[in-house]
Amino acid sequence: MKLIVAEDVNVYYGDNHVLRDISLSISEHTVTALIGPSGCGKTTFLRTLNRMNDYIDSFRVEGKIKIDGKDIYGNKVKVEELRQKVGMVFQKPNPFPKSIFDNVAYGLKIQGTKDKKSIGERVEKSLKQAALWNEVKDILHKPALSLSGGQQQRLCIARTLAVKPSIVLMDEPASALDPISTAKIEELILELKENYTIVIVTHNMQQAARVSDRTAFFYMGELVEYSKTSDMFTNPKNKATENYITGRFG
């Protein structure tokens, strides 16, 4: 069974038609990379999966996106519940200007969890999952903004995991980081795949090749090609895909 299914998705910002007839499905416990040149709609598509575009006044979506068989743009959907299930990590590390502990505990706090012991356990577990625990276990009450950029991004991942999502969306999570921090994030993505379904937008072809099982190539708002990553990078079917992944444009 496919966890995420998009059927004929069209997205508009006012008169601007940014996604055209996107249909694709994503299996559980896989990493899917969304690639394509800037402005191709890949980030818009990613943000459509947890309805992060809702607050843009001119945003409009047509077609169906089902997660776990349920239409996420349906009437009965509570968007807060959806986002607990479909977490998100952003391009620039954006920890809250609070302590490391409070950053990870925030998701539990807004769900109304009061039990200090279970919050503490979840914080520790999430930080371990994000491979950050050893670096921060003695400074949990220091401000999150005092961490390095790479640590901050792993903190953001830990914060997202603490809410127990089944899907994690990542919007160019390593683009603001140095190569060592990037390698740590990629390693982490491969580990998280065991328990989570990951959709990642990236501008880095090698990164897409290294971490993803399937790759979707977006161009001018259309889904040009979607196949197994190994197939796409060795034997692209479409000329535009080939040109993009070999660096001839984009």
């Binding site: 947890n50 992060m52 607050y55 006044d57 807060e80 519940e81 959806l82 986002r83 607990q84 977490g87 998100m88 952003f90 620039k92 954006n94 920890p95 809250f96 200007p97 925030y106 998701g107 706090k109 807004i110 769900q111 903004l145 953001c156 914060r159 997202t160 809410v163």
Partner: protein
């Protein structure tokens, strides 16, 4: 005279003009304050602060005036802060950015420039007469709240707008509602800016006299207000009353009361500046 020489003379001429312009205001203010201090400082003692008004200048005090000012400050804050901050939050976080929003925005900015006596007339009609509050502290506080609401709304909006959007997205992305995002993330990050605006607005409110005269605040109140429905006076009214009398001794009283009013205003502005500096240091996204 060579061209170069002329240019240099114009250059230094403008420099001195600038210095003169800068010091003009400062010197006048300093002279005023020195004059007031010289006249009134000797008059300030414990009895001056704790005595009721009197026909004899030497026995008159500002107890009713400063307690009235304190009451007005307290009630105005109670009314204006929640209303102004809530309106600012709504306009910035919930309101759509369409033409109506722009019209509202321009009008709020215009309201901040309406002469205060017009607010007094509005207060007289609405609060004193239509809502039957009489010339009470509550009517005064409501009127002054209207007067400073635009300032608080604008300050709140600016402070909220300065909060980076990435912070909101992080919160929404974890399943927080709008209100949770505002309460846990946006307001704490914007609180310094909001507080600064609120304090400056309140320090303006305590110096206002015109609207309170219009709604019927009394210059002579022989008792300390005990409830928001009591009649009242405030420091600027008391000062005005004393200064307009012919006897020299009352002028001294007036000077002393001015020192107290200035001290309160400077203190509030000082706190506002301190908070602004601290807030700027704390925020480094």
């Amino acid at each position: 005279m060579s061209r170069l020489r002329t240019n240099r003379i114009i250059d230094s001429g403008f420099r001195y003009l600038g210095i003169a312009a800068t010091f003009f205001g400062l010197v006048i203010l300093a002279l005023f304050i020195l004059n007031i201090l010289q006249q009134g400082l000797g008059r300030i003692d414990g009895a001056f602060l704790t005595s009721l008004p009197s026909r004899r200048a030497s026995r008159a005090g500002i107890l009713t005036a400063w307690t009235g000012t304190a009451w007005i400050l307290f009630l105005t804050a109670l009314i204006a802060i929640p209303l102004g901050v809530a309106a600012g939050i709504y306009l910035e976080e919930y309101g759509k950015k369409n033409r109506l929003a722009r019209i509202v925005e321009i009008n709020i900015a215009n309201l901040a420039g309406v002469p205060s006596i017009l607010y007094g007339l509005l207060g007289l009609e609405v609060f004193v007469r239509a809502m039957r509050m009489g010339s009470s502290l509550l009517a005064g506080a409501c009127t002054l709240s209207l007067l400073i609401l635009p300032v608080i709304i604008v300050a709140t909006r600016e402070a909220i707008r300065a909060v980076p959007n990435t912070l909101r997205e992080a919160s929404y992305g974890m399943g927080a509602t709008r209100w949770q995002t505002i309460w846990y993330q946006v307001l704490p990050a914007a609180s310094g800016g909001i507080l600064t605006g609120v304090i400056l607005a309140l320090s303006r409110a305590i110096g206002e006299t015109a609207p309170l005269i219009v709604i019927g605040a009394l210059a002579y109140v022989p008792f300390v207000a005990r409830s928001p429905m009591d009649e009242f006076t405030v420091l600027p009214m008391q000062i005005f009353n004393w200064i307009s009398r012919p006897q020299q001794a009352f002028l001294v009283n007036g000077a002393a009361a001015i020192i107290i009013l200035l001290a309160i205003t400077f203190c509030m502005n000082g706190i506002a500046v301190y908070l602004r500096n601290r807030w700027q240091k704390k925020i480094n996204w």
